[in-house]
Symmetry: C2
Subunit: 192 residues, 2 copies
DNA sequence: AGGTTCATGTAACCCGTTACATGATTTC
DNA sequence: GAAATCATGTAACGGGTTACATGAACCT
């Protein structure tokens, strides 16, 4: 018994990180799936999946949502390829994403996506927004870091050394990111 | 035409990171799904998913593979709960995982899993193995870091500032991890 | 002629997320 | 007796990974 209902229909609107990476790249230049894949493979962005089984379906989904649009190019003597470009709606969605509040996006688990957002930010929202983003990031990190630090300091000796050190490596990551953000902000403020 | 065959049957033997996190924790102490979830939530390990929809099925799968075994506890006046503990086969699998070659595990995308492995390593393989792991990690990072550094230095001014800085943040991450690893190794060598 | 690179896809499978559900016990 | 916490689950869904496939153009 119990008619388990799922009437919410889970509107499924949220895009994946890979999708945003694709949108961001397409904002810079129209490109084919193959171009995008090549770029992923050859750049430090390859951690956003380089497999055709992820990229092509993702592009299809973005097109179905109207965020990108494609046209097949038949280039004389060249292989035909499908060129994708961002639509106005895609621009809007990119901007919305870039403007998301930093405190919501969990600093712990989503640092990679945070950096992806920042990487596109100059172009998507402009330099002032980028500087503002850094200020917010600095604030969030400053208040967050002490808590795992305390957890770490409070750990007893009974926890094995490698466990303590592994935890410390996470903390070091936040601390070095904080330093990076301060330096980055200084760059923006110097350049105005 | 074309009988698309998938005869490989994709033996599906590889466990997920979450599964290894569970195995590692169960090696330390027998625990219930609820205990494990509580631990994830309350510790900096929460990035390995805290949702029951991930943990309970993962435990089931591990049990089906014989890596853990469970028994229901009916504790007088207390709620019944299912206590999981590692089996001998689970120990073996944990050791195999902990011993995996570091160069295979992609340093770029899997730093988190690398640190998870290291965190359990003292208990699973012993201190000498942990120190050896750090030496290997130092070697790998030392040879890897220069390449994104070069990519970064070689980037033209035409790339927007936030893009350059985002890339640099990744590099800073590797560099600070390298420093951490050197310090950590020193700790091991001091303590022998 | 044969191999490589260009270029785009699809099918199977697995797992994580979100959401829903349930029932017991402790606390106020 | 209501609310919170303990404790364990399941169903729907989406998307990523791996593997398979195909066909054109280019190079040798």
């Amino acid at each position: 018994m119990s008619t388990q209902r799922y009437n919410t229909l889970r509107t499924m609107e949220a895009l994946t990180t890979l999708s945003f990476a694709l949108l961001g790249l397409l904002q810079q230049n129209p490109a084919s799936g193959y171009d995008l894949r090549k770029f992923f493979i050859s750049s430090p962005m390859k951690s956003f999946s380089d497999s055709p089984g992820a990229i092509y379906p993702a592009l299809r989904r973005l097109e179905k949502k109207g965020l990108i649009r494609s046209q097949v190019q038949d280039r004389a003597g060249l292989r035909r390829r499908r060129l994708f470009r961002l639509t106005a709606a895609g621009q809007v969605e990119l901007k919305r994403w870039a403007s998301e509040d930093i405190s919501k996006t969990d600093i712990v688990s989503d640092m990679k996506e945070l950096m992806l957002r920042f990487g596109f930010m100059d172009q998507v929202l402009g330099r002032d927004a980028s500087a503002q983003f850094l200020r917010k990031l600095i604030a969030e990190l400053s208040t967050y870091v002490p808590s795992p630090r305390a957890y770490f300091e409070g750990m007893g000796e009974e926890i094995p050394l490698s466990g303590r050190l592994a935890l410390e490596s996470g903390i070091v990551h936040y601390e070095s990111t904080l330093q990076w953000a301060r330096k980055a902000l200084a760059t923006y403020e110097r350049a105005r």
